[in-house]
């Protein structure tokens, strides 16, 4: 029997999608969506891309206010869930009208991540890029010519750097690892993007950590000082899993989920950025930070809650990043220890001992989509299969 009151905590892309999919799947019970941020739920990817250039906040909204009325969803913005009382089946929250409690039959945690604050001195001088409010601040700052330092050569730092450089600012990227996006892409792709950014005139400081930030710039590990009018901190995130941990749920690189996306309490599910789950391919525990994972998790949980079933989550991960004129697309997920083979210009295969695990492409949607199909097929794919579709 499906639950009578489902409460979703966190109104980002995953939390909202859970409510959309629950109603779509025919769930007719009471449904509440609670989010700490003000306004309507919005999408984050454009915050480091189109929004910085165009500034159209209304284009980010995922659904209009009327959606919540027509689908009979109680949406509580600017409301933070402060505790879960699992014994009583209640959550405690704090909103614009003060504190309150709300009973649930099933709880979905979709609390996302927050920016990592590494032990760097003077970080109060650095800006973040996680929320619409952060992006608004950055947009204002991009209004006058500046020297900008970006701490972190991952997707968000580099997307921001590409936009800022494109607008004519002087930009320097500081990355502690020896190459860009090292956690997520092959060495060949890192190189492609390093060439792209250098070609645009962005300074890349690789293999040098930032050790201090002040109002005038950033001090690097080698003792040099980089002058900057403002600094963006984009050095990764931490999952918002404290709520779960305090309620006694298992936490392991985020809220720990089983293959059915349930926490250690069968009345509580979790999804998206805040949760780790077994990779359907090899059972390794992974946590993804992508629209795909957030929305596919949400759809899976909604189907389970409204129709039941014992299925395990099996969606193929995919991801994209837009940097200047290079559209990077990744089909599949490559963990640490995977090798790489360059198939042709802008197409890189990632392999482990069982075969093809991921395909990275630049400006090649055709091979990306074919790779998605190849990797979601029932049988394991090999290098030959990819060579064939790339031919």
């Amino acid at each position: 029997m499906s639950p009578q009151h489902i409460v979703v905590v966190g109104a980002g892309q995953g939390g909202l999608q859970a409510t959309i999919s629950l109603r779509h799947a025919g769930y007719a019970g009471r449904l509440t969506l609670i989010g700490a941020e003000p306004g309507l739920p919005y999408q984050r990817p454009p915050l480091s891309k189109a929004y910085l250039k165009e500034g159209r906040a209304e284009a980010l909204m995922l659904r209009p206010q009327s959606f919540f009325e027509s689908k009979d969803i109680a949406y509580l913005p600017q409301t933070t869930v402060e505790g879960i009382d699992r014994g009583a089946g209640e959550i405690a929250f704090h909103g614009p009208d003060g504190k309150g409690r709300l009973p649930y039959d099933h709880l979905v945690l979709a609390t996302g991540t927050r920016n990592l604050r590494p032990p760097i001195e003077g970080l109060e001088h650095a800006c973040d890029l996680r929320t619409l409010a952060d992006a608004e601040t950055l947009r204002t700052r991009l209004g006058t010519p500046r020297r900008i330092a970006v701490i972190g050569g991952g997707f968000i730092g580099l997307e921001f750097a590409a936009v800022a450089r494109g607008l004519g600012h002087e930009v320097a990227v500081i990355e502690a690892a020896p190459r860009l996006m090292a956690r997520c892409v092959s060495a060949r792709m890192s190189e492609h993007f390093a060439d792209l950014h250098r070609g645009m005139g962005t300074a890349l400081h690789l293999g040098t950590p930032a050790v201090a930030v002040d109002a005038g710039g950033v001090t690097l590990g080698d003792g040099s000082h980089l002058a900057a009018d403002f600094t963006l901190l984009a050095a990764g995130v931490v999952p918002n899993a404290e709520l779960a941990a305090e309620a006694g749920l298992e936490v392991e690189n985020g809220v720990r989920l089983c293959g059915r996306l349930l926490t250690s309490d069968p009345q509580i599910s979790a999804l998206g950025d805040c949760a780790s789950f077994p990779d359907p391919r090899d059972g390794q525990r992974i946590r993804l930070e992508s629209v795909q994972a957030a929305t596919d998790h949400a759809r899976f949980i909604a189907a389970r809650l409204s129709k039941g079933g014992e299925d395990h989550y099996a969606a193929l991960p995919w991801f994209w990043s837009d940097q200047a004129d290079s559209k990077l697309q990744i089909a599949g997920f490559a963990g640490p220890g995977t090798s790489e083979v360059v198939i042709c210009d802008g197409v890189v295969a990632r392999l482990d001992d069982r075969g093809l695990v991921a395909v990275e492409t630049v400006n090649n949607a055709g091979i990306h989509m074919k790779s998605r199909r190849l990797l979601s097929g029932g049988t394991p794919a090999g290098l030959d299969d990819l060579v064939q579709i790339a031919a």
Binding site: K49, E58, L62, R63, V291, H368
Partner: protein, 107 residues
Amino acid sequence: MVQVTYVAHDGAETTIDATEGDSVMQAAVANDVDGIVGECGGAMMCATCHCYVDEAWAERTGPRDEGEDDMLEGAASEITERSRLSCQIKLTAELDGLVVHLPEEQL
């Protein structure tokens, strides 16, 4: 304002007043029209905004953009010569009255 009519797979019609400059995908999402997902927000990355442009409008919406063909290959429903990614159709005054048909599935 530009009027757009979305015809769902079961034949149900929804007509909305959209903002000029928005895409057919954005207009659907902003007006709570079911049947268009638009997961990537119009970045041409997801193919969940597939639509079939009504025959009478095909000429005015023009041909597919570069890269659209490739993404459409991954769409969940049948592709025809009228298939477009609705995030790539920008609403101009010329498209006032546009009719698009929606596929059975987007995922």
